[in-house]
């Protein structure tokens, strides 16, 4: 038998029919739904008088539009101030109620960002094909699953047929070997990867993250990395199944139990790339070269070590790139060549499906413990990824650490990651953000996003500008 990659295995295992032109009907095991990309799909289904193929494969929760202050959350959907947001969340509730779809509603303790809720509840499992009308669905690949974002027409297609029409992607292996330096996080690793291969580097590929660093990485860290596979251009990112995966999954609400667990574990152990499997492209990084990263531009590939300076467009020879750099610096309000540590931040956002899991919250709390937010920072907020994360953090007293530091502790949701709710940047404001996209206007009209790890965001909140968080960690080993 020919050696297969993890992606080959997942793909082959889900082919319903293969078409002559290379496309295939792929069976979908799990369909996650949120309020923004689903209303038109449900409407289409209704107009065509179709029913969902398999209701028990669907899990829904509102996340993009939900407010994150306790005040605005108190009255549930009816308390959402923005009427368009309210209608969208209400529409999700109505669609789920009508069709009998399991939904974690706005004030359900299990509500949260789709990509946090999926793995945490065990709704997303190794070996599954998982889709959601959201590009960061790549997150779940960390479990050893084939997990992809789809558009609304495809949401409707999966609702109606439990299948996706897809063409197999190519295989890419991104390996990071060696051991990460102290204070360097999974977020820094993925930002460094994107800085290296570019935002189109993974286009047309499914990326497997391999090598020493990922083998040693926690499941939370792997989720962070796979989350941003899409920022590297890849629709799917994944990590092979190992003990860390199985330990994470075991005991979760929807994870198999008893006899089913035993069969599942046996099957899941196979979910690794075979020795000698062929990858169409291999990218290798050395862990020792990676330091804390900060994005300075308007694309996630515009990223540098915190110790570096903002690039100078004059050093670029390619005219299209030169113009792109110039435009990015102009939008970001930065001087060519200025030190990244000289960039002052107006707001700090710790949250989003990239970095809002318990490990992220703990890491940020560790940095701010006993310190206070700089007065020059207008607002710093920590937004847990789900009700479960929030409860766990509060159990550990982490909320107090933030509040004592004059940092706000919020209700779960996408929050300032994309500003569809009340949390936004003002025009021209700089934000240290643990989210995944620094596109123009992403966090609010005219807002200037700098992508960083939770530790780096926390450090910026304390200092008022970017610093190498490792300088604040002295004394720990």
């Amino acid at each position: 038998m020919t050696a297969k990659t993890l992606y080959d295995k997942l793909w082959d295992d889900h082919i319903v029919t293969q078409r002559d032109d290379g496309s295939a009907l792929i069976y979908i095991d799990r369909h996650i739904v949120h309020e923004v990309t689903s209303p038109q799909a449900f409407e289409g289904l209704r107009l065509a008088k179709r029913k969902p193929w398999r209701v028990d494969s669907i899990l829904a929760t509102p996340d993009h539009n939900v407010p994150t202050t306790q005040k605005e959350r108190a009255d549930g959907v009816s308390g959402i101030a923005d009427p368009t947001s309210r209608i969208q969340v209400q529409t999700l509730d109505d669609n789920c109620d009508e069709l009998g779809i399991l939904e974690f509603k706005i004030n359900d303790k299990r509500q949260g960002i789709v990509h946090v809720v999926g793995p945490e509840t065990g709704a997303c499992l190794p070996g599954m094909t998982i889709v959601c009308g959201d590009s960061h669905t790549s997150t779940n690949g960390a479990l050893g699953a084939l997990s992809m974002g789809i558009g609304t027409s495809e949401v409707e297609h999966v609702l109606a047929t439990q299948c996706l029409v897809a063409k197999k992607m190519q295989n890419m292996l991104v390996q990071v070997n060696g051991k990460l330096l102290h204070g360097v996080t999974p977020k820094d690793v993925v930002l460094a990867i994107i800085g290296k291969i570019g935002t189109a580097g993974g286009t047309g590929y499914a990326i497997e993250f391999g090598g020493d660093v990922f083998k040693a990485m926690s499941m939370e860290g792997r989720l962070t990395v796979c989350n941003m596979a899409i920022e590297a251009g890849a629709r799917a990112g994944m990590v092979a199944v190992d003990d860390i995966t199985l330990d994470y999954v075991k005991g979760r609400t929807f994870a198999p139990k008893g006899e089913h667990w035993d069969i599942a574990e046996k099957a899941w152990r196979e979910l690794t790339s075979d020795e000698g499997a062929h990858f169409d492209k291999v990218v290798t990084l050395d862990a020792a070269d990676i330091t804390p990263q900060v994005s300075w531009g308007t694309s996630p590939e515009m990223v540098s070590p915190v110790s570096a300076n903002v690039p100078n467009p004059d050093d670029e020879t390619d005219p299209v790139k030169k113009e792109g750099l110039r435009r990015a610096l102009d939008y970001m309000g930065l001087q060519a060549g200025q030190a990244i540590t000289d960039i002052h931040v107006d707001r700090v956002f710790i949250g989003s499906c990239t970095n809002s899991r318990i490990e992220d919250i703990r890491a940020a709390a560790q940095v701010v413990k006993g310190l206070r937010k700089a007065d020059s920072v207008k607002e710093a907020i920590v937004v847990p990824g789900s009700g479960e994360v929030k409860a766990q953090a509060e159990k550990e007293g982490l909320d107090k650490i933030f509040i004592d530091a004059n940092i706000e502790w919020r209700e779960p949701g996408c929050s300032m990651c994309l500003a569809m709710n009340a949390d936004k940047l003002g025009d021209g404001e700089h934000c240290a953000s643990t989210s995944n996209r620094n596109f123009e206007g992403r966090q609010g009209y005219g807002g200037r996003t700098h992508l960083v790890s939770p530790e780096m965001a926390a450090a910026a909140a304390i200092k008022g500008h970017f610093v190498d968080v490792r300088e604040m960690m002295k004394g720990e080993a």
Binding site: Y27, D56, T84, S153, T199, A200, W261, G324, L418, G446
Partner: protein, 213 residues
């Protein structure tokens, strides 16, 4: 779905790489639960000098005079010339909906982001990948000649310039078939219902935990 066969239309530029879907349609417009109404806010942050909001009367807003799609010469364009990695970022299908409503039926670029590329086909917009140097040629000719129109011939899989120069492009046979005939994907997949059921039964045997509830 609307069929796509041939198209001859005015070309307009989106002359920068990595145009993301946030730029094509900003997030505040995603709150709509409809499929329509996005065209007038396509490229909102580039088109206007102020911040757009759903429901705002766009006729009173300050227009950005430096944005090419606002130039008189590009009004009524239906072919968008773009640069690499067009449509990256969010999976929002609101992006092709907005482009479609704006009037674009075909987009030519050296590369597209995967999800956006897929979404175009679901909306009868043809994304065409040409070599970087061919795209460059089209840009140069378009800039040099006002009223420059491009012909897209899907049956022949070629793009034709006004001078009759042609560039051929690839497309999956199935996608081409769907576009030419205006076929709805779901209807076609439904014809494989028996295969899906058979697969499902076999999967339930292998992975019973997936069907436990």
């Amino acid at each position: 779905m609307r069929a796509f066969t041939t198209l001859k239309g005015l070309a307009a530029p989106m002359d920068r790489p990595n145009v993301d879907t946030d730029l094509i349609i900003p997030k505040q417009f995603l709150k709509s639960i409809k499929r329509t109404g996005f065209g007038e806010n396509a490229f909102d942050e580039l088109r206007y000098l102020d911040e757009g909001e759903p429901g705002k009367d766009n006729s009173n807003r300050p227009v950005n005079p430096d944005f090419p799609l606002n130039f008189a010469r590009y009004q009524g364009a239906s072919v968008l010339l773009a640069r690499e990695n067009f449509g990256c970022g969010s999976s929002r299908e609101h992006a092709p909906w907005a482009l479609d409503e704006y009037g674009f039926r075909a987009i030519i670029a050296p590369s597209f982001a995967d999800i956006f590329f897929n979404n175009c086909f679901k909306n009868a917009i043809l994304p065409i990948v040409l070599d970087e140097k061919d795209v460059e040629t089209l840009f140069a000719q378009m800039y040099a000649q006002e009223g420059y129109s491009i012909e897209v011939d899907l049956p022949e899989q070629v793009v034709r310039t006004p001078e009759g120069q042609t560039f051929s492009f690839d497309i999956d046979a199935f996608r081409k078939h769907c576009l030419l005939n205006g076929l709805d994907d779901i209807g076609i997949t439904m014809q494989s219902s028996d295969d899906i059921k058979a697969y499902e039964q076999a999967r339930a045997q292998r992975a019973p935990w997936l069907f436990a509830s």
